[in-house]
Symmetry: C2
Subunit: 342 residues, 2 copies
Amino acid sequence: MTKSKSTEIASLGEFGLIDRLTSRLKRRNPSTLMGAGDDAAIIDLGEEVMLLTTDMLTEGIDFDLSYFPLKHLGYKSIVRGVNDILAMNGQPTQVVVALGVSAKISVEALDELYEGMETAAEELGVDIVGGDTTASMNGLIITITATGRAKKEDVVYRSGAKEHDLICITSNLGAAYMGLHLLEREKRVLKDVENPEPKFSGYEYLLERYLKPRARRGVLDALREEGIRPTSMIDLSDGLASDLRQICHKSQCGARIYLERIPIARQTSELAEEMHIDPVIAALNGGEDHELLFTVPLDMQEKIMRLGLVDVIGHITREESGVVLVTPDGEGIALKAQAFDR
Amino acid sequence: MTKSKSTEIASLGEFGLIDRLTSRLKRRNPSTLMGAGDDAAIIDLGEEVMLLTTDMLTEGIDFDLSYFPLKHLGYKSIVRGVNDILAMNGQPTQVVVALGVSAKISVEALDELYEGMETAAEELGVDIVGGDTTASMNGLIITITATGRAKKEDVVYRSGAKEHDLICITSNLGAAYMGLHLLEREKRVLKDVENPEPKFSGYEYLLERYLKPRARRGVLDALREEGIRPTSMIDLSDGLASDLRQICHKSQCGARIYLERIPIARQTSELAEEMHIDPVIAALNGGEDHELLFTVPLDMQEKIMRLGLVDVIGHITREESGVVLVTPDGEGIALKAQAFDR
């Protein structure tokens, strides 16, 4: 199957695989305003556009059913899908669900999964309008495809950041990553224990951030009310370093973010210390935060500060300055994304 | 995970699982005209609607990479997705692709998959507008989500069949099923052979029908030109028996189809005989035909016959008559769908 020349996917690097696969794709329908390359595709509806995005979660990679309750998994999968619509500044509306189901999954298990999905749908005001259930040889697979609507002029792209823009995030970072590490540790420690009682006390917030992330529809509504329109935006799923580099890559700009301004929750720092992990690495590269990273014009500084819903962690620079993390002593460190691993 | 009460999915029967899972889903957006229950969901756009459908294929269940060329697999996955839009009488427009990729898949293999997808997209006039690539622990997974447009009054549902309507299909049946059997046989026979040379001679048509099914966009265009509007329609994916029962279930009607009118290709009969399979079973229950099954009013009989593009295999009856296959000697056999197995 792999023929004579065989290239490992990892070797293509951060932006390589998607660019390579999508570069051959043509547009034939005038309604296709934008294809791959942002959080969602854009389909012309006249005054409005429809946003369309798809996201696959596979057992063993994206979740471990030995500690991931199905209700939460359903909830999180909807949040992940809808977040990509929010990251384009769209109003999420409909979702379709494709499931690959292995023999070990019972009807009651699927009920729980759907219950969690419907809870998230209720909170986010979206409708689950159908799907496909197929058999899977190896584990549970969930693909969520989400749609949303936006006025054309309201759509926010990854590519719109301008020099001097402020870089904002909607919550502290690294908590989901530490929640995952905690779950993995307890699984490891209690592997051969008959009635395992995992120790999560004091770290409930981290578990919640990993198992049940909240979509930030409310923050976007508040920005809209205040007349603040982001110049660029992305869903924080791969980690701040990688996602900020995406914004800079698409906007042809650089960035300076300040280490002491990156919010890290107390539980995140505490568990990181306990597990000998650098909390800054968790915040920069952990991923799965499912918060929003966006930029606003510098003259919005006062407004956005007064709103009190986001943290301003730095600003956009010229492309040649690169993407830089500034330490408290003023040193600038070039931010590298992690190796492509998914 | 399965708790105290554990119900096997198979026990819910033919229409049970989807009905159970989707019965709890609410509609919150006025733009949601129809959710689960037909080939695609329907989203209100004003005069037009957008159709939305998702379809997952998993390695080991839906395809075997040891004999399924990736180019064909890409092609077929797009056809499958787009067929659900056609089965609602919509014009397919955009597609998004979510891939789960195991470590054994090289970049060149993904290139081939995308090449096949783009070939199908070109033939069907749709745009691949993005997607998601994630890691998979176990095998390749492909989820295709397709969208399309239609005028509201043009949408054809599974539920519109009326007594006396004619039942039509767009090609002979059972060929894909026999193609799959041929591939499986040669794989089995040549399992331990060093340089295997599978014998496909004389059965190329069956392989093509399984590996590279064609979407019937052309037939629908011809019907439209002739002013023939189907009263109900479904994508023939689970087999004629099951899919006709779906139409009857949704339309609250019965059906009589005539055995001698069900078209079966010569190669299908020949291989079936060689492999001791009843060709009628292949045609009724084989599945994967990816043709269209639809009904038209009785007064369209002459028009549809003159068109010469479809076979009329029977007619719609009252619900209490059931779904019946009439043998050449006039005997009526109640059509049962196969057990739910996916």
